[in-house]
Symmetry: C2
């Protein structure tokens, strides 16, 4: 077996450190918190903290959840409309247990105070973007690379908006957020086409 206990512990420690970071940041303010405080709160040594995250910003943002292999296959081999299959891809991604609504909510709230956090959140989205670009090139093999690059950015823009709405807890259901955002996106495309 490929180290079940070990990998579970690793992920748990990563989550513990992230939770400790967000807890301290909520309590004292992000800038005041030091790696030493986080390590103490998470009950690990400072050195271990740095084995998990490169810095406290990364600890606040947490690990990057990637698309699952199943979700990718479902999209690439999907037969529905682009709109519907994208909606399904986003939904299945955001339902993953790795995507922690509370943590995202705290992180976005903190990023008002510490813009560096937003940068790291964007880094996560950039990782997802390269996934999306690769997936799209399989789904739309006829399309040239630069157009796919633009499309992948647009898809990630929609994902970002859906996540932000969802994390803000204005909408309880992630599916609703995804659908509403994609609806806005298609309306926008219609607008652009009409005004041309």
């Amino acid at each position: 077996m490929v180290s079940s206990l070990r990998s579970r512990r690793r992920r748990q420690t990563a989550r513990d450190i992230q939770a400790a970071t967000l807890r301290l940041a909520r309590r004292h303010g992000f800038d005041v918190v030091t790696t030493g405080m986080i390590a103490a709160e998470a009950q690990v040594s400072v050195r271990t903290f740095f084995n998990y995250y490169a810095n406290k910003e990364a600890a606040a943002v947490g690990e990057t959840p990637e698309f699952s292999d199943e979700a990718i296959c479902a999209f690439v081999e999907g037969t529905g409309s682009l709109h519907d299959d994208l909606a399904r891809l986003m939904r299945t991604h955001l339902i993953q247990e790795d995507v922690n609504r509370g943590a995202i909510h705290d992180m976005i709230a903190l990023s008002e105070e510490a813009p560096r956090l937003m940068s790291l959140f964007e880094d996560h989205l950039r990782v997802l973007r390269s996934s999306v670009a690769s997936i799209l090139s399989h789904r739309l093999p006829e399309t040239d690379a630069l157009t796919l690059d633009l499309l992948s950015q647009i898809v990630i823009a929609a994902l970002r908006q859906a996540v932000q709405l969802w994390a803000a807890q204005d909408e309880k259901d992630i599916g609703t957020c995804v659908d509403a955002t994609l609806e806005r996106l298609t309306a926008l495309c219609r607008l652009v086409c009409e005004t041309e």
Copy 2:
């Protein structure tokens, strides 16, 4: 007079430090370079370095060029198609002397080695995005905020692609890059509309 000599010197020093940073990074690799090395190369003290930039990444990326007031007015009050007016906005922005093609080229090249640089470049684009969102809300007063948010992200995506193409020196003219990218964008919108 509002300190002409002083502000010119300030901008010159900022540029000197950026140039020193990029020169050293090209020569030795970005990670190896320290703020002390940069300060020595730019012939200022380390403390002065930190008066200009928060860290070496920021020094490599340089200061954020914003849209000029004239360009903003021209767009808001523009009477042409959205496409054409956007193209003009991007062109006049990228023609500014603050936007240094060589520096952008070096910075993007270095960001292969140091992903943190790309984050800061994205930060610049995020600043521009909030400008774009505000400008668009004047141009399209009927549109709701979330749709404008999406649109501003799409506009910035196009700007990013145009800048990257231009900085890569595959295309000599920034206008050509902007036009080609916007053309791809409208084609994409048509594609989305048709497949719905």
